[in-house]
């Protein structure tokens, strides 16, 4: 069972539904250390992406269309970060209508690179990269999807003990301690949907 353009369409449908379901919880998390809109950004971005991906010939076209749609629907921090992530995924998937499932963890590694590149973040700064980077490392080391997901979730959990040094929460200093980074939490949810669809 390859990862096909149909699976990809379903994946984005699932991502949009998941973000809609988590919207208020993610906003509440962002309210504690940020501006309470992260759930809205992720919902709107993934819904726009889900509308953009059907009926495109290749996975590359799909991820590129998702990137553009996400960016234009959202702006914010999440927009450029996920747009870049999705463009890297497009490149990793390549101009083909399907890719072998065994190759799909490479998408996670590519997305993590895109986020790191765009956000100029390092792990440990309490951002979404703290979920994406360990997931990418697991992916690169040949881990299974469940293992990748656990790496992401552990990474997201660990942000609770970090003091933010990038993004909106960076101005909080010590007050950011004790709360998980909303972007890291949504990242682990996204990776969970990837794992469900591709694992």
């Amino acid at each position: 069972m390859d990862f096909t353009t149909e699976t990809c369409t379903d994946l984005f449908t699932a991502l949009a539904a998941r973000m809609a379901a988590e919207r208020d919880a993610l906003c509440a998390l962002d309210g504690l250390i940020g501006d309470a809109d992260h759930g809205i950004a992720m919902e709107q971005g993934m819904q726009a992406a889900a509308r953009a991906v059907p009926n495109l010939p290749t996975l590359q076209d799909q991820f590129n269309a998702a990137a553009k749609a996400f960016l234009n629907a959202v702006g914010a921090s999440s927009g450029p970060l996920y747009a870049t992530a999705l463009m890297r995924a497009a490149k990793a998937a390549g101009p083909r209508a399907a890719m072998p499932r065994a190759e799909t963890p490479a998408l996670i590694a590519a997305m993590a690179e895109g986020i790191a590149h765009r956000g100029k973040a390092e792990p440990g700064q309490k951002t979404m990269l703290d979920a994406w980077a360990p997931a990418a490392e697991a992916a690169r080391s040949g881990a299974s999807w469940p293992e990748i997901l656990i790496a992401a979730e552990n990474g997201a959990d660990a942000t609770a003990n970090m003091q933010a040094s990038l993004g909106r929460a960076a101005r909080l200093g010590e007050r950011s301690l004790g709360h998980k980074d909303p972007g890291a939490v949504s990242a682990s949810m996204i990776i969970a949907e990837f794992a469900k669809a591709l694992g």
Binding site: A36, A41, S77, A170
Partner: protein, 332 residues
């Protein structure tokens, strides 16, 4: 928790419906160049640097209200508390471009920087030079001036840059004056209540009665610390102590003052604060050249206020006094 009370139709449509209302109410000042890209009817012109501002919605009259002759030429409009994507920034810049270059000005937030930087790259491909000056006036937000947020001081900083552009100064000069204005503008605020996003209608955070957030931003981000709600004079004193120390202006210097409401704090309270600010400036032998009191940079219905002081010199005084005629702001 109950939903907050808002006069909206659909939280997801609020920004576009607001924009429709702004355009309907201000046809002499504003027109839509492209989706979420607003340009001044009378502003951009050949040979003039285009000043393009922008940012998230929910801060009205910032940013939209400062588009007009003598101030910003165009504005990119984001979702509530969210930077606009690159496309409206590009569209606003193209609509305002007069061939003398574009200056992007906006508050220093990670999201805005990433989106406007992408816009700058796109404009480069079109052969349009776009430079950027970030506003960083919120002295509470970091010890490092370069890392600070841009908040209500935007009004003065944009005003100075807009005047420079209106005077047909070249891009180098407009940029220099913008940076100079930003370097001499100091803001600090307190929040007395949270606000709520139109999509969720949930309060951004929990602030018990009798407490306030000190060093609050304009997106409901927590401040530098939480403390007991103090009398207006004590609040003004705490802010003025910080600003005066940071500003370090010599006796006799001129300043411009903005006492700004974050939303629901009414003029009565702003003027009570202003009375104390004026006393403190007089005690420091500083001369108030001009003042603004009102809701200039808001967080929707948040309660609270900020105080901004701009340390003037002759050039900045000229820039602030230069006439402008915007949808929601006028000088001269």
């Amino acid at each position: 928790m109950s939903l907050t009370q808002k006069l909206i139709n659909d939280g997801n449509a609020a920004v576009d419906e607001m924009l429709a209302g702004v355009l309907a109410a201000h046809p002499k000042h504003l027109r839509l160049a492209a989706p979420r890209a607003v340009v001044a009817q009378n502003g951009p012109r050949p040979g003039k640097v285009a000043l393009v501002i922008g940012g998230g919605s929910g801060h009205e009259p910032t940013f939209l209200g400062f588009v007009g002759k003598g101030l910003a030429d165009a504005c990119a409009v984001g979702n509530v508390f969210a930077s606009p994507p690159p496309q409206p920034c590009v569209d606003a810049a193209m609509a305002a471009d007069g061939g003398a270059g574009v200056l992007f000005m906006y508050g220093n937030y990670a999201g805005d920087v990433m989106n406007f930087d992408m816009a700058t790259e796109l404009l480069e491909m079109e052969g349009i030079e776009a430079r950027t000056v970030l506003t960083t006036d919120d002295i509470a937000s970091s010890a490092d001036p370069a890392k600070r947020r841009g908040v209500a001081g935007n009004v003065f900083i944009f005003k100075a840059a807009g005047a420079a552009a209106d005077l047909a100064l070249p891009l180098d000069q407009v940029e220099r004056i913008a940076r100079h204005a930003n370097a001499r503008t100091y803001t600090m605020g307190v929040a007395l209540s949270a606000c709520s996003l139109p999509q969720t209608r949930r309060l951004n955070f929990d602030l018990p009665s009798g407490e306030m957030e000190i060093g609050m931003g304009i997106h409901g981000e927590p401040g530098i610390r939480r403390g007991a709600l103090k009398p207006a004079n004590a609040v003004a004193d705490e802010i003025m102590d910080a600003i005066l120390a940071e500003m370090n202006a010599p006796a006799g210097a001129k300043v411009a003052v903005l006492v700004n409401s974050l939303g629901s704090t009414p003029l009565m309270e702003l003027y009570i604060l202003y009375a104390r600010v004026a006393e403190r400036l007089a005690a420091a032998n500083l001369m108030i050249h001009s003042s603004l009191v009102g809701p200039y940079c808001t967080s929707m219905e948040m309660a609270g206020a900020s105080i901004t002081v701009m340390h003037l010199d002759d050039e900045l005084t000229q820039m602030l006094d230069h006439p402008c005629d915007c949808a929601m702001f006028r000088v001269g």
